[in-house]
């Protein structure tokens, strides 16, 4: 018997996902929210890899490659937005982003 099974892998993926979710929902700094979103994306991809490893196909790994591509594009655009927010407010707190200005 070993501990590297699909059930344990899925539970690990869910725990890491929930940790990232806690970071997104409780932090007020925009950079920390982006970091927590990266943790969530990684753990969701890890669940795909676990499923692919136990079906014996390479499709789980391929799905993780595409999740990584999406995460890279999202991080670059998100960080550009962080730069714009900092230029506007001199502070990265999301409390500044409460009102939409036309």
């Amino acid at each position: 018997m070993n501990e590297i099974t699909m059930s344990s892998g899925l539970i690990i993926a869910s725990v890491l996902f929930v940790i990232g979710l806690a970071g997104v929902l409780t932090r007020k700094n925009l950079l920390f929210i982006l970091m927590s979103v990266e943790i969530m994306l990684n753990s969701a991809g890890f669940a795909f890899i676990v499923a692919g490893a136990h079906l014996g196909v390479a499709d789980g790994q391929i799905m993780f490659i595409f999740i990584m591509a999406v995460a890279a594009a999202e991080v670059s655009v998100g960080l550009a937005l962080v730069i714009q927010v900092f230029k506007r407010f001199r502070d990265l707190s999301i409390d500044n982003l409460k009102e939409l200005n036309g």
Binding site: L25, R27, L31, A53, I62, S76, A80, L92
Partner: protein
């Protein structure tokens, strides 16, 4: 559920198991330090530790290509982007607090979600097989033969990301000409 607990009772002291548990503990501690950090650079270094430990876990699940890609792309490129932004904005001067106070109600709801997920996973069938090792060669062949359209679409997505990030990060020029204003007609 009982079958799952029966399965957990018989675990042997394997090298792979010990490595898996060590990297799992590092991943949990590092992710908790990321979400409760005050210093942005410290949190990014904990995130690098998280990515490395996750790469070890991915390798132990029979996906060596993805483990290498995780280190190269996540810990090597995405964290570098974060660090560039932190250094450029010079965020060290912003931190005043020493501890982050996490509010109570979101944590209760998040623990409820975690309990639901664990219940869903335990209500499925028990899987005790070893992970199947998939070589990088097989992964690459499957990627190119079956998922060519998705490769092209991912390329287009990354192109859109590059162009968007460039335009969002560029500064507007102050003075084009003496007689022209910034908010021109063809803006």
């Amino acid at each position: 559920m009982r079958a799952h607990l029966q399965m957990l009772k018989t675990c042997y002291l394997n090298v792979m198991n010990v490595l898996f548990v060590i990297s799992l503990i590092i991943a949990l501690v590092a992710s908790l330090k990321v979400i409760t950090g005050t210093n942005a650079v410290h949190a990014l270094l904990y995130m690098v530790a998280f990515f490395f430990s996750l790469a070890v876990m991915i390798y132990l699940y029979g996906a060596p290509f993805i483990a290498a890609l995780e280190v190269i792309i996540y810990a090597g490129a995405i964290v570098t982007l974060f660090i560039f932004v932190v250094m450029m904005l010079n965020l060290k001067a912003q931190e005043k607090k020493k501890r982050i106070k996490l509010p109570f109600l979101p944590l209760v709801l998040i623990i409820a979600i975690q309990v639901e997920l664990v219940y869903l996973i335990f209500s499925g069938p028990v899987n005790v097989n070893e992970p199947v090792f998939t070589s990088p060669e097989a992964t690459g062949l499957a990627l190119i033969s079956n998922y060519m359209a998705a490769i092209e679409l991912a390329g287009m997505l990354l192109l859109a990301g590059i162009i968007g990030a460039y335009h969002l990060g560029s500064e507007k020029k102050k003075n084009l000409h003496r007689y022209l204003s910034n908010t021109g007609d063809n803006e």
